[in-house]
Amino acid sequence: MVCNGWRLRGVTYRYGAISALREVTVDLAPALFHGVIGPNGSGKTTLLDILLGLRRPLAGEVWFDGQPIAAYGRRELAQRMALVPQEFSVDFDYTVTDVVTMGRHPYLPRFGAPGEEDRRAVERAMSLLDIAAFADRPVTGLSGGEKQRVVVARALAQDTPYLLLDEATASLDIRHTLQILDTARRLVTEEGRTVVAVLHDCNLAAAFCDRLLVLDRGRLAAYGPPAEVLTPALFARVFGVEARLRREEGRLRLDFVGICC
């Protein structure tokens, strides 16, 4: 499988009259942790949907792994990309194992049952997220943090070279947030997979990501390594906040001083 990431050229998307993405042109290289940041309504989720092939741009081109993304079938895309959505609700009392096994769906024939390889992928994903202990419990009875780990495990069971996180940690406490971002980081560093994560916390984005993509009202405001992208000027322009940056033991730290006009 060739993995050379995404090539976006002039990607534009609208919901009716409301513009979501305007002429976004960017290359996302493989084997990196890409963070997507931007204010609410700046088009982050729409961008993720475009990367996933769930939405087709109204104008512009999307290339993925060397082909126009439209050339892939849904199943092929699902074998290459997995999504961890922000909110997760499941109807009915599926067990944790049931839900994680659903990650194998793109590989299963219509009438076939999960085989040995599928079971191994499921077990591996559950042990990575440390949820094997409640494998047989219904998902509906879990806490928010446990549930989100199940969703991440489901995406990992999909065993794809690309993993997309859509504010996957938004509803989690700091411990679970770090656990999930750590897992994603290891997938990039140790296994050469590619992660694209929509994040709200700019400090976390700076700490975990190799590249940051900043969206501002649908436009690409900046793209590059965190140290180059995160500047006081950018925070003033895009977020309308006054930010101070300092380096602490080689790490970038942001302090938000207040709202600027």
Binding site: L54, A78, D91, D98, M102, P106, V151
Partner: protein
Amino acid sequence: MNRRFVFVVFALAAAWLAGVVVASGMGYIQVAPAEVARVLAARLLGRPEWLAGLDRVVPLVVFDVRLPRILCAALVGSGLALAGVVYQGVLRNPLADPYTLGVSTGAAFGAAVALLGNIDAVAVLSVPLFAFAGAVGVLAVVLWLASVDGRLHANTLILAGIVVGAILAAGISFLKYLADEQVSVIIFWLMGSFASRSWIHVGVVLAAVLAGGAVIFAYGRDLDILALGDRSAESLGLDAAKVRRRLLVAASLVAAVCVSVSGIIGFVGLIVPHLMRFVVGPDSRRLALVCLGGGGILLLAADTVSRAVLPREVPVGVLTALLGGPFFCYLFRRRRGFRGL
């Protein structure tokens, strides 16, 4: 879990078979189960000599009068429960039943037209055909109303079903008003009954249940995946709108055939999937399989009570609602709300 599932399937199959045999013996003329079994074996295997020694009326009563009615009831129960599994899954709503999209009101309207017009062009199938046409017509309108940009959302579907159903309910009231002396026929049909159903009806329902069951088996895992929500389902390679439409059409056609043959029988399609989910869990294929058995047994029992136990025949639809409603309330209280259902 696997062992338990196999056990449940065999237990339901055995109970179903026993139910059919026992029910065939019950009624104005009592026939012992052993004799019923003999009649069934003789007729099904084509060995008339096995009937020697039985009263000549017994095979007639058992095989030509009771059995079609009994199998009709059992198959309609299976079909409604099967459709309930799909509706609850696809609409992501534990309160959905096979009639949520207005299929029953459409069928009732079609049947009322046929009954009012005294249409008997196709003999015993005239009313069912009109009912079926009404059900399919409503389904088409509801699907058309609920499609937004080629997508089908659960809530939009439910709303469209309610609106179209309300309009047709008014239409039925108007037909009743026009019907004058025939109003009782229409009302009786609306309450649902299996009285004087024949082998033709059995064949029609059996074909619908088998075809619907095949579709649901093929799309069973997709139905599970839909429970994750559309975006997650699509990221797993599913065309959510397509799967939802196919499953809904299949389940609605099964429900339409059932309601055409039996009239409106409520609560079976709502309760059986819930009950069976307690027993085998939410996996759609397993659930659909055990619902075939559970729905069949439940409606067969209800029809037998209405036919042979009560002093006077009560429309089976009334019976299922009177017993099923309170039972559902009990389940609802015991599970403390719909979350666990």
